[in-house]
């Protein structure tokens, strides 16, 4: 990976933009929570949606996932599948009592 000094400077500029975006989104997250919306589903959706944007920014730019080898993507795709399964466990537990 022979990157020129010019490339690196470009990287740094991107990092600063991401930093700013994360900073602003954190403020938005906290501000949104003060709205105390009546709908729990809406509150959860907004909070997790913003967190997902922030997480994606960190993963793509700080962790360089935007430009990575395919094997890493495969590792992460498999991880994501198992993660989704994990998240469904509470749902299965809930369904256990449906109609009882």
């Amino acid at each position: 990976m022979a990157e020129s000094a010019e490339d690196i400077r470009h990287h740094v500029a991107v990092y600063m933009k991401v930093f700013l975006a994360l900073f602003v989104l954190t403020i938005v997250t906290v501000a949104a929570s003060y709205l105390h919306l009546d709908s729990v589903a809406m509150t959860v959706t907004i909070a997790l949606f913003i967190a997902s944007i922030k997480g994606t920014l960190v993963a793509c730019y700080f962790m360089h996932l935007i430009d990575e080898r395919s094997i890493i993507y495969w590792v992460l795709i498999i991880t994501a599948v198992f993660f989704v399964v994990l998240m469904f466990v509470p749902l299965l537990a809930e369904m256990n009592s449906v109609g009882v």
Partner: protein, 197 residues
């Protein structure tokens, strides 16, 4: 001395130096570790008759401050890596020190939060809310401590490692950085989940 192959050159099969694949596999296992706790949290919360709002019980301003601190430390560690790419070890070490300092600030703030709870005799045994809160933030805090140790090793052994093989050292910083971004990423999800919902 036997050398571990492909610590600098990309492995012909993966196209990556080995440590990078290794750290990503480790992070995949970490996703499952925190995922299991997250899933347990959802199960406990959905299954309980009443669940406290984090913002009523926890210190949101302090946690917001800690979010800024961790995001900042993610930037400083990536700056350390870019400094090494520009062959500036001195600057890289300064950035690593700033990262360690920010991680320290995070832990101090967390300790203040914990202390305020313990003062009121609140512990993981109090209820399910505090049990999940202390378990998840506690595990996250241990990860922060682990990160500090890794960065201190890089700082104190940096001169020697850099002299031996500068590219190898740069890769080490990159791998520790990947871990550190993951710790930041976990917090990005923990903060709204525990404090704001």
């Amino acid at each position: 001395m036997d050398e571990i192959p492909y610590d600098v050159k990309p492995h012909p099969v993966t196209g990556l130096y080995n440590a990078k694949l290794g750290i990503w596999l480790f992070l995949a296992s970490e996703v499952m570790l925190f995922g299991a706790l997250f899933s347990s949290y959802v199960l406990l919360r959905v299954g309980s008759d009443s669940w406290a709002h984090g913002y009523d019980l926890l210190n949101v301003p302090l946690a917001t401050l800690n979010t800024f601190v961790l995001i900042g430390s993610s930037v400083t560690v990536v700056m350390a890596w870019t400094s090494l790419k520009l062959n500036d070890l001195g600057k890289a070490k300064t950035w690593l020190w700033v990262t360690v300092a920010l991680a320290g600030v995070f832990l101090v703030v967390k300790a203040i939060e914990y202390g305020a709870k313990f003062e009121h005799h609140i512990s993981p045994a109090t209820d399910n809310f505090y049990a999940t809160y202390f378990t998840i933030t506690g595990l996250h805090g241990l990860h922060v401590i682990g990160g500090i140790l890794a960065f201190l090793i890089l700082i104190f052994k940096g001169d020697r490692m850099w002299k031996e093989d500068s590219e190898h050292f740069t890769n080490r910083v990159e791998c520790c950085g990947l871990y550190w971004h993951f710790v930041d990423l976990v917090w990005i999800f923990l903060f709204p989940t525990l404090y704001l919902l």
